[in-house]
């Protein structure tokens, strides 16, 4: 059985949690919370901490088992299998949508004439290679790529400072606290995507007492790192574009990247940033690909190259199925808000609650 270290767990978790959340997050939260939207990002991501700790507490009780296996143990075979089936459908469909988004982002922003299928094929090839190489290679890949993503993001944000408009952040909390809640709700699905991944990766985590402590700190470190970075992304977009324009932009960070100029000589560096963002897309899609493979293995005992090829075919089929960018973005939002968020938040909470209850009454 493959194992990843607590440090790898932290970087891999952060990379998966981050994914491409930094592209739509500003528009999402500003749309519901106005110019205070940036405040909602960190609390929204922080939701992953209690859920992550719940998942890890289940790991302590059921070492080397993922949450689908634990569901079968705690809820019974058929309920467990139904949850597993839902898990496969959601992760498979969402992963495929993200692959579609890879094409949408690149075609929209820097390579409008390149056939969109090339982005799908190129991305899927990398994803497929990572999945077939196993979780250890994926974790090492994230250890190399994630710091590059963070550096690129810091550069993108830092170099945008000269474009900041005066006073765009003010007034603070003029509409009260209520809109902040809805901003948090918009961010919450990102946390739940991470929890879905955590639910499957538990099998590959060490379950010793000392390691469990390290894993727990890995969860909150990843959450705070990604939450703060995303918060800065939103903050910078509101500062530069103002709230109205921030809402209007599909991928605001890409527009920021296009505005970067260094001493009036270096411009047009957005392509470099775009190259790095491709790394985060690949990691996020790989994570969902992994989730589908874990689901298939657990629920139907289907594994191996043949089934990976089937998943790849589904991914590419769904991606090609969305020919309209606007429909794709809408669909991603719908799946996030109406499937991933309710399913994950209820499932993990129920699993943890039943586990505690059964432990209390001495059933397990």
């Amino acid at each position: 059985m493959e194992r990843i270290s607590p440090h790898q767990f932290m970087t891999l978790g952060a990379a998966v949690l981050m994914g491409t959340t930094f592209l739509p997050v500003a528009s999402l939260v500003t749309g519901v919370s106005g110019r205070d939207g940036w405040m909602t990002v960190l609390p929204g991501f922080a939701l992953a901490i209690p859920y992550g700790l719940m998942a890890l507490s289940l790991l302590a009780r059921f070492p080397s088992k993922n949450l689908l296996q634990i569901s079968e143990i705690l809820f019974g075979k058929w309920i467990g299998k139904s949850i597993g089936l839902l898990y496969i459908i959601i992760t498979g469909y969402f992963g495929a949508l993200l692959l579609g988004q890879a094409g949408d982002i690149y075609e929209r922003s820097i390579m409008p004439l390149t056939p969109i299928g090339l982005f799908y094929l190129g991305g899927l090839f990398l994803v497929f290679y990572l999945v077939n190489s196993g979780i250890e290679v994926f974790a090492r890949f994230s250890e190399v790529i994630f710091p590059v993503i963070v550096i690129a993001m810091a550069l993108n944000l830092g170099l945008s400072i000269p474009r900041v408009e005066q006073g765009e952040l003010l007034p603070i909390l003029s509409e009260g606290l209520k809109p902040l809640f809805w901003g948090g709700v918009k961010v919450a699905p990102f946390s739940m995507e991470y929890i879905l991944f955590l639910g499957g990766i538990l099998t590959f985590l060490p379950s010793g007492r000392k390691e469990l402590g390290q894993l727990k700190s890995g969860v909150w470190r990843a959450v705070f790192l990604v939450g703060i970075l995303n918060m800065l992304v939103v903050l910078m977009q509101i500062l530069v574009f103002g709230p109205t324009e921030t809402i209007r932009m599909t991928y605001g960070l890409l527009v920021l990247g296009k505005m970067v100029e260094i001493s009036r000589t270096v411009a047009g560096v957005e392509s470099l940033f775009m190259g790095v963002w491709f790394g985060s897309l690949v990691m996020k899609i790989s994570a969902f690909f992994f989730m589908v493979t874990w689901g298939l293995t657990t629920v139907f005992n289907l594994k191996g190259l043949k089934w990976n090829l089937v998943i790849a075919a589904v991914f590419i089929g769904v991606a090609f199925g969305f020919v309209r960018g606007a429909s794709l973005i809408k669909e991603i939002g719908l799946i996030d808000d109406y499937l991933i968020l309710p399913f994950t938040s209820v499932w993990i909470l129920a699993l943890w609650g039943v586990s505690r209850w059964k432990k209390g009454v001495g059933v397990q």
């Binding site: 929209r108 409008p112 474009r163 408009e165």
Partner: protein
């Protein structure tokens, strides 16, 4: 056996990798530099037919003179079209090169087009991914087409010259340097009226500036600004009103200033070293107003009308007189700006935004009637000028 299978799988992956390496960097959409026509400036005027625009595109083309320094040859086209895309298509046909929008630096809005509204025609510059929101916006007195077709005495393309003026704008601080991104941000606020600087050509002999007329070309300058109601040009600000706007917007970085003569017939010329404008919402007897505080540091470079040698004490007193004189000049410019705002009923100074920032509760009560409120909204000024130094000499060269 397992090892053999793993080996085969690796070979399979390597094969796939090679296939993708052949196809993926296939450069779909690749465009060689020689195939591109970098767009430097766009001019937008109203077309002769209703619902059309006259779109002027200034393209740069490297001269093939073999000179060590890159020279740029002008290619300017004007096309009457109903949309920006249509105009680019026409230019593409004529120029046989692909217009490249990523290099666009300036959008010149003709006076009539600006009056009719620029929202629709600027949509392309926001939507199409090649454009950058860092491009400058200017309004031309007259048509943008005639401005971009000017032959300048320095040999530059008019669009490049405007871009250079705008980039140097902070050193003079007499006009706002408005980029597309800033214009859209202001447009997105509830209460503010966007402001865009005005560019015009200076005919020789027509103003205070004289230059040799002839075939050498003409000169342009950026002076004053246009105020927009939404996306439509509503009125122009004079040079002094624009300078007032710059003070009140905390946009003065450096500035060259002259004062009018004092009672002793002495006037001063100097350079603003540093300036900060702060504002606060004040309430007196239930009446809310906005109070501006401008703190400026000046270096005097020129004193006119000083006819006697001064003692150290007299010199210090004269510097205090200079401070008052500079403060009066700044106050005059600011008041002109306030007067224009009230006359037009358009909040280009962003007073509403300042109130919203400082007292959002009060703002909510007035925001719906803000355009009517501007005319009598109380504003006050406190200007503090400090003469940092008076250059390399003191007193006068003349004896008493």
């Amino acid at each position: 056996m397992k090892r053999k299978e793993g080996h085969k799988r690796k070979i399979g992956f390597l094969f796939c990798l090679m296939v993708f390496l052949i196809f993926l960097p296939g450069c779909w959409g690749k465009r060689e530099v020689e195939e591109l026509a970098p767009l430097i400036g766009i001019g937008i005027d109203l077309g002769q037919k209703p619902g059309t625009y006259m779109i002027t595109q200034q393209l740069a083309k490297a001269k093939q003179s073999g000179a060590a320094v890159a020279e740029i040859e002008e290619r300017t086209f004007s096309v009457e079209a109903s949309s920006a895309r249509e105009a680019y298509e026409e230019v593409y046909r004529i120029s046989s090169r692909i217009p490249f929008m990523g290099s666009l630096r300036v959008v010149v809005l003709g006076e009539d087009a600006a009056k009719a509204g620029i929202g629709d025609i600027l949509d392309f510059t926001q939507r199409y991914s090649e454009f950058r929101r860092s491009m400058f916006l200017v309004i031309s007195k007259g048509t943008a087409q005639s401005l971009l077709n000017l032959k300048l005495r320095n040999g530059q393309l008019p669009a490049m010259s405007i871009k250079n003026h705008m980039e140097q704008g902070k050193n003079l601080s007499t006009f706002p340097t408005v980029r597309l991104g800033h214009y859209l941000t202001v447009l997105g606020t509830e209460s503010m009226a966007p402001i865009i600087p005005v560019v015009e050509n200076i005919k020789p002999g027509g103003r205070e500036i004289e230059y040799k007329d002839g075939k050498e070309g003409e000169e342009i300058q950026i002076k004053g600004a246009g105020i927009l109601r939404g996306d439509q040009l509503a009125d122009f600000l004079t040079d002094e009103e624009t300078k007032g706007y710059m003070w009140l917007e905390n946009d003065v970085k450096h500035r060259l200033m002259n004062t009018v003569s004092t009672a002793d017939n002495i006037s001063f010329g100097g350079q603003i070293l540093k300036s900060t404008t702060k504002y606060k919402v004040i309430g007196n007897d239930g009446i809310i107003g906005l109070h501006y505080q401008i703190k400026t540091s000046v270096a005097i470079d020129e004193i006119m009308g000083l006819r006697k040698k001064l003692s150290d004490t007299e010199w210090v007193d004269l510097m205090k007189v200079a401070e008052t004189s500079f403060a009066k000049e700044i106050e005059k410019e600011c008041n002109l700006s306030f007067r224009k705002e009230k006359e037009l009923g358009l909040d280009f100074l962003g007073i509403g935004r300042h109130i919203e920032q400082k007292n959002s509760k009060y703002w909510k009560t007035v925001k719906d009637q803000w355009n009517e409120k501007i005319a009598d909204f109380p504003v006050s000024l406190d200007i503090q000028v400090t003469i940092h130094h008076a250059g390399m000499s003191s007193s006068s060269a003349m004896t008493n």
